[in-house]
Symmetry: C2
Subunit: 202 residues, 2 copies
């Protein structure tokens, strides 16, 4: 377009800053009680300008979640040179570290799955992408046997359950939780008759 | 009270019938598009009478879920004479059978966790009760080590994830899914350093 580069950068940067601020506000307030007027005020811009960037509160909310899941995906991308068990350990570690830093956002995300259809779609998409990444990482290929797919996919649910329990009780060290989760995945793969993947039988 | 017994029975019975009908309607319609007027019409009673039994649509919804979870708890209660692994296998089997018979209700329940606070409380309560029953059944006692608690509790999440995947793909027999789930629990207990519980090491 004819828009000069500095102007596009400015727009991009302001959008990013608004998302960051909104993420903080959504993490600390109930969705219903947070108004676009309040968000605009906190951002020091007019409500009209906020609506120019995000047509509705729901779209702003979904955009903050998308931003957060992109960050999370990047943070948990294992270095290509690591072999599957070490790569997975590193990803789980990075995931738990991210959650420690964004505990409220993570809780809110899981709590809002049912109330906003886009959130369900987003969480499903993250689980799909993560399953595919793990299945690929352990060499199960793009068309794994149903039991192997079930093992990996259900382990992602198990991970959310274990993490919420951990956030509630805080009586395990992060490394203990990580080791439990890796062991549980190995156990699920064993139960799926695929102990050889991930060296689960070792 | 001074109410005669036959009258109380009548009230109780009508309430039960209303719950049954409402459960069917909630399972086949979106919560937002189902009105109390419609439910009353389907039941052949006045809206005023329906409100007499249930003060709001949300309370009616929560009451149908409570009724369903009571049914489910009763259906999955293992016979007292069975030893833990067999008892658990039978409970999981009964649970999967119940879900096959109430697939839509089960999906709706998990989908509405975030939108209705009472549903979250109910699902949490069912998970608490089921965890306690399993921990008791495998002899882990009322104060299990944090890792064992995490293993059992996160396995209940894994179960929901595996079941939703199963309902979506239907490419595992129910007995295969059951066996996978029992194996995954054994694997999680192994990962928690408690292989001796449930004969998980065997």
């Amino acid at each position: 377009m004819s828009e000069p580069a500095y102007r596009r950068l400015h727009v991009h940067e302001r959008r990013r800053q608004l998302l960051e601020l909104a993420a903080e506000l959504f993490a600390t307030h109930a969705f219903a009680e947070l108004s676009m007027a309040r968000i605009a005020r906190e951002a020091g811009i007019s409500k009209a300008l906020l609506y120019h960037y995000f047509p509705s509160k729901q779209e702003l909310f979904v955009a903050t979640l998308q931003q957060a899941t992109e960050e999370l995906t990047a943070a948990t991308e294992p270095p290509a040179e690591l072999a599957p068990p070490a790569a997975l350990a590193q990803s789980v570690d990075a995931f738990l570290a991210w959650i420690e830093a964004h505990e409220t956002a993570y809780r809110k995300l899981l709590e809002s799955v049912g109330s906003v259809p886009e959130v369900r779609a987003l969480v499903d998409e993250v689980r799909d992408r993560t399953s595919a990444r793990i299945l690929d990482g352990i060499g199960a290929g793009p068309n794994p046997p149903p039991r192997v797919r079930t093992a990996v996919r259900s382990w992602l649910w198990q991970m959310d359950g274990a993490i919420l329990d951990w956030l509630e009780h805080r009586d395990l060290a992060r490394t203990e939780l990580r080791d439990f989760l890796l062991g549980a995945l190995a156990g699920a793969l064993m139960a799926a008759g695929a102990a050889e993947l991930l060296g689960a039988g070792g």
